[in-house]
C-alpha cells in the first residue's frame, strides 16, 4: 500500500465525480491537441508545397484561389491562360524557372495535372517504380494515389472531367500508369502527373489547333515561377498584373493571409479550450475541497497511524495530479483520434490531416495538465497538512 494506491482508491470511491473531472480535462486537452496538430500540419503542408515557388501566374480572379488550386490543389482554378502569353512570361529575364500546369480532370478525386519535367525538378520527385511519361496518356501517380486506389505500373484508368467527381468520365482515351512516385510528404503524393499534351488531347485541343492553322488556342491553367533574383519580388508581379490579362499571386503572401483568416478561428477555439481547462481546474479544486470535509477524520486517523503531515499533503496532491494526468493523456489520445477522423472525411486528399503525427509539444500539454492538477490540489492539500488531528478526532 503506497500513497499513489491510497489516492487512487479514494478517487475510485467517487467514480462519477472522477469520470466527470477526467472528461473535462480530456475535453480541454483534446481540443488543444487537435488545434496544435491540425494547425502545424496545415502550416507544414502549406510551407512544403510552396517551397521554391515565388509566384503563381494564372487567370484573373481571387489570388488565394489561384494559389490554393495551383500549389495545394484544393480549390478550383480561376480559369485558363493562353499558352503563348505564359511562354512570353517564361522567357522574361527575371524568371529562372517557369513550370506550366494544366488542370481540369481527376481520377477518383485525385487531380490529373498536365505539366513538364520542370515540375519534377521543382519538387525533386523520384520514382519508386517504373518511368516518367514519354507519350500521350502515360501517367505517373503519387504514392498516396497508388496506395489508396491499389494501383500498379501498367494499370489503366479513365479520367473524369472536373476536379472532384468521377461522373463525367472520358471514355475515349485511357491513361496508362508508367510510374509511381516515392512519397514526398506534400501534395504531389496525391496527384496524377502527365504531359500537358495529354490534357489537351484528352479535351480535343490539339485537333482543333491543327484544323484551324491559326495562332495557338492552347491554354494552360497556371504557371509556377521561380525568380532569378530576389530583386524581382516587387517588379515582376506588378508587371504581370498591370500589363497582361493575367494575375500574379505570391504564395507567401496568400498563405499568410489564409493563416490570418484561419487564425481567428484557431485562436477562438484555443481560448475556448483554455476556458474548459480553467473550468476543470476549478471543478477539481471544488471536488477535492468538498471531499476534504468528509475525509478530514480519515486523514486524522492516518496521522494517528503514523502518517506525517507531508504524506497527508502528498495524498491530496496526488489525487489532483492523477485526475489531470489521466485526463490530459486521454485528451492527447482523443486529439489524435479526432484529427484522424477529420482527415478521413476531408474532401481534398492533398490537404489530408493525419492522426499519426506526433509533436514534442504534446508533452507540454500533458505537463500543463499536471500543472493544473497541482494548482487545483494545492490549497486542499495545505488545508489537510495543517489540520489539527486532536480537534478533528474530537469532533468526529
Amino acid at each position: 500500500m503506497n500513497l499513489i494506491t491510497i489516492s487512487w482508491k479514494s478517487l475510485q470511491f467517487n467514480r462519477l465525480t472522477f469520470f466527470l473531472n477526467v472528461l473535462l480535462i480530456a475535453f480541454g486537452t483534446g481540443i488543444l491537441t487537435l488545434l496544435l496538430l491540425g494547425s502545424t500540419q496545415a502550416g507544414e503542408k502549406l510551407k512544403g508545397n510552396a517551397n521554391g515557388i515565388d509566384l503563381v501566374v494564372g487567370a484573373k480572379g481571387s489570388p488565394l484561389q489561384l494559389i490554393l488550386s495551383s500549389i495545394y490543389f484544393i480549390d478550383f482554378p480561376t480559369g485558363n491562360i493562353s499558352l503563348d502569353d505564359a511562354q512570353d512570361l517564361a522567357r522574361n529575364p527575371m524568371v529562372k524557372r517557369a513550370v506550366p500546369l494544366a488542370l481540369g480532370d481527376n481520377y477518383a478525386g485525385f487531380r490529373i495535372v498536365g505539366t513538364d519535367t520542370s515540375y519534377i525538378n521543382l519538387y525533386n520527385l523520384k520514382l519508386k517504380q517504373g518511368r516518367f511519361w514519354r507519350k500521350d496518356f502515360d501517367v505517373v501517380i503519387g504514392s498516396e494515389v497508388a496506395k489508396i486506389k491499389k494501383l500498379k505500373v501498367g494499370d489503366k484508368f479513365n479520367g473524369s472531367h472536373g476536379l472532384s467527381s468521377d461522373e463525367d468520365v472520358h471514355e475515349g482515351n485511357q491513361n496508362t500508369i508508367t510510374g509511381i512516385l516515392e512519397s514526398s510528404g506534400n501534395s504531389t503524393d496525391n496527384l496524377v502527373l502527365t504531359s500537358i499534351e495529354s490534357i489537351w488531347n484528352m479535351h480535343g485541343i490539339e485537333k482543333d489547333h491543327k484544323q484551324s492553322g491559326h495562332q495557338s488556342k492552347k491554354e494552360i491553367t497556371s504557371l509556377l515561377i521561380q525568380y532569378r533574383s530576389r530583386m524581382s519580388i516587387v517588379l515582376f508581379p506588378m508587371m504581370v498584373n498591370k500589363s497582361t490579362s493575367m494575375q500574379a499571386a505570391s504564395p507567401a503572401k496568400e498563405s499568410a493571409r489564409l493563416f490570418s483568416l484561419i487564425g481567428v478561428g484557431v485562436q477562438t477555439a484555443k481560448w475556448f479550450a483554455l476556458f474548459v481547462m480553467l473550468i476543470s481546474a476549478i471543478s477539481i479544486f471544488v471536488t477535492l475541497y468538498n471531499s476534504l470535509k468528509d475525509r478530514m477524520y480519515d486523514l486524522a486517523l492516518m496521522r494517528v497511524m503514523g502518517a506525517s503531515q507531508l504524506k497527508i499533503f502528498m495524498i491530496i496532491m496526488l489525487e489532483g495530479i492523477i485526475l489531470t494526468g489521466i485526463g490530459s493523456v486521454i485528451g492527447v489520445f482523443l486529439g489524435h483520434v479526432f484529427l484522424h477522423i477529420i482527415g478521413y472525411f476531408q474532401d481534398s486528399p492533398q490537404a489530408r490531416l493525419s492522426g499519426f503525427y506526433f509533436m514534442p509539444e504534446e508533452l507540454h500539454l500533458v505537463a500543463g495538465g499536471f500543472f493544473i492538477g497541482i494548482m487545483a490540489a494545492i490549497l486542499p492539500a495545505i488545508q489537510a497538512y495543517r489540520a489539527d488531528i486532536s480537534k478533528t478526532i474530537s469532533i468526529g
Binding site: M1, N2, I6, K9, S10, Q12, F13, Y297, D298, L301, M302, R303, V304, M305, G306, A307, S308, Q309, L310, K311, I389, S390, I393, S394, G396
Partner: protein, 207 residues
Amino acid sequence: MLTTKSLSHHYGNEKLSFPDLNIRKGEQWLLLGESGSGKTTLLHILTGIKKPFSGEVFIQETELYKLSGQELDQFRGQNIGVVFQQAHLIKSLTVKENLFLAQTFAGFKNNEDRIIEVLTELDIIQKINSYPASLSQGQLQRASIARAVLNKPFLLFADEPTSSLDNKNAKTVVDLLLKLSESSGGTLVVSTHDDRVKEAFSKEYIL
C-alpha cells in the same frame, strides 16, 4: 513505562491540570471522569496528537514532545495503538487495506499473515475483503481494535470504546482489549465514564 509530569492544558480561560501518571509495563488502567473533565484531552496528549500547554510525557525513556514532528508521527505509528470512541475505518478501502495502511504508515512492511491472525482473533476474518459500509457497528469497532493492535504496540489507548455499543458488544470489546493487551504484554489505558467498564479494571485515575 508511561510517566507524566505537571501536565496541563487550557481552552481559552478554562485550565485543565492533570495528575502525574506512573504506569508500568503490562498494567491496565482506567481514566475516569465526567464529561468535560479532560479525559479525551489527556488521552490525546498521551498519544502525541495534542501538545500540552505545559508538562512532560515520557514513554519508556523517550520524552514525547521533544521529538520532531516526523519523529513523533513515526514513534506513534510504531509504539502506540489507539481505539477511538467513533469506530471509523476509511470508506474507500477494504478492512484488509485499512490494516495495510496501519502497517505502511508505521513504516512496517505489509504483512497479510499478521492481518489474518488479528482478524481471526477478533472473529471478523470473514470481513477481511469487505468495505466498511457493509460492517455492523460491533464489527467496525472490532476492526478498529484490530488496526490499533496490529503493529503490537506496547501502549494501547482506548477513548470511550464502549459508549456507542450495547451491553453485549460493550463487554466483548472490553474483554478483547484486556485479552489483547495481556497476550502482547502491552500496557492498556482506557478512558471512559461508562460504568459497565469499571469492574473489569483494578487500577484507575480519576480526573
